[in-house]
Symmetry: C2
Subunit: 280 residues, 2 copies
């Protein structure tokens, strides 16, 4: 199959590595000629250039640009595609993307490969990034079912775990387990930085250990990524934050009212239920 | 030096291993004869028994019982000690302990070795548990300075990082970087478990990955430990939760009002400041 990849960063480059390994021909497009050259050198693509003309006979095109430029990218891309080309994206938010791009291309299917590292760019691309990781497709009643099943077979080439849900289900679930933790963790760092007593702040910094390290990790990560989550998934992130605030207020109330047994019971429920989210 | 250890669990047993390695004679006391036997077998103590009579000529006694039983333990212990014996505890909260125990023993110095593993009990005791970890002493104006300096030299034997502060400074700092993360993380799990849509809850459980795993870790940990933090450090935990709630509300407001630049700025501050808390 001839696969096009628009945007040769961590995700686009890693997709290219795996698709070529699976025997597909891969053409890449990046605005940067340097990135194109590196992508070829690293074996992420068979060929790459800044123009979309390479993709005129692509069977499937993966849009791997940042969320903010997807719409303008697809509008420039469309005139270069053949009508049969399947188009998909890798955006981490689906409602805004799907409802923007779907009207523009009949064979569009929204997708989200849930993998990454802390690095970005073509130099960070690695083989098997998606292996055993979730890859979610978010079809709608308008989605072309043949296009979806072709994409599904490509996802099998990546050895990903395949999931399927509606765009809103995706955005709500991802808000809870990916975007909410960033905001929760960011608030923890902010609360500590807001400590008015400098002596205590210094001491806290010296004494912080693994519990603080883990709980503050995603809140001290890539600021553009955090902004992007909130900006593109605003409704669902706010929904998850309201659910969170209720849970927080409940814990504050239990502690204020010295309901220690109830607090321990709540923590016991967490201990029992956390393995449903996280492989131990 | 003759060192007594009351309570032969992870902390008491690990202290014994290191103090014996440093050339001290160590006597242990545990209510459980089995624990006493195992402590001797593992080399954590030279001798151990359920009675305090072993400690009549101890130079320093470490109280390593749970916070909840410290006061009753010290009252039973006191009649067995010589007047010169230095007494210290290893409790993770200091105001309640220090102001309870200090009036009962002239040569008492509050302490907190900040180390642990996820395991408990004498079988979990390991050498070098405290090496390169903070060990905080919390003297007051009443503290015997000679007793404090002898303890400080023992802390050097453990190769710990020595810190000194007031009990309230300790409890506030520890609330921020240890107890608050537990409540913040527990609220995250509770917010997800409260998801009313079962389909979304199931999907969220399938899609959760490293960000959720790290942010939810301490909130899905030992329930007794979480309860103990809140119960014994109630005032400071509530203070930290109020600071946290303000930070959370600020982030909710930024997202509600679509102040994306301000949100990114806040996250950029977190990225820059987190290394002050956590070695990268």
């Amino acid at each position: 199959m001839h696969i096009g990849i628009v945007g040769l960063g961590l995700i686009g480059g890693s997709l290219g590595l795996d698709f070529r390994e699976a025997g597909h021909r891969v053409s890449g497009v990046s605005r940067s000629p340097d990135t194109c050259r590196i992508a070829v050198e690293r074996g992420a693509v068979d060929q790459a250039q800044p123009e979309f003309t390479l993709l005129h006979d692509a069977d499937v095109v993966f849009l791997c640009t940042p969320l903010g430029v997807m719409q303008e990218t697809i509008q420039t891309l469309i005139p270069h595609l053949s009508a049969q080309t399947i188009l998909t994206d890798v955006g981490s938010v689906k409602q805004s993307v799907v409802y923007t791009l779907e009207p523009l291309w009949r064979r569009f299917v929204g997708g989200h490969p849930m993998a990454g590292t802390e690095h970005t760019g073509i130099l960070a691309a690695i083989p098997n990034l998606f292996r055993d990781r979730p890859y979610v497709l978010t079809p709608t009643p308008q989605t072309d079912s043949e296009a979806q099943s072709i994409l599904r077979s490509l996802i099998q080439d990546l050895k990903s775990q395949y999931y399927e849900c509606t765009p809103i289900q995706h955005d709500r679930a991802v808000a809870l387990i990916s975007h909410l933790p960033v905001m929760v963790s960011a608030s923890l760092l902010q609360a500590c930085l807001a400590e008015p007593d400098v002596e205590i702040l210094k001491l806290a910094q010296s004494l912080a250990s693994s519990g603080f390290r883990d709980t503050s990790r995603v809140g001290g990560g890539n600021p553009e990524l955090g902004r992007m989550m909130a900006e593109h998934n605003q409704t669902e992130v706010l929904r998850s934050l309201q659910q969170y605030r209720q849970s927080l207020d409940q814990i504050i109330e239990l502690i204020t009212e010295k309901k220690w047994d109830a607090l321990e019971q709540l923590l016991t429920q967490n201990l029992a239920k956390r393995p449903n989210f996280v492989d131990q």
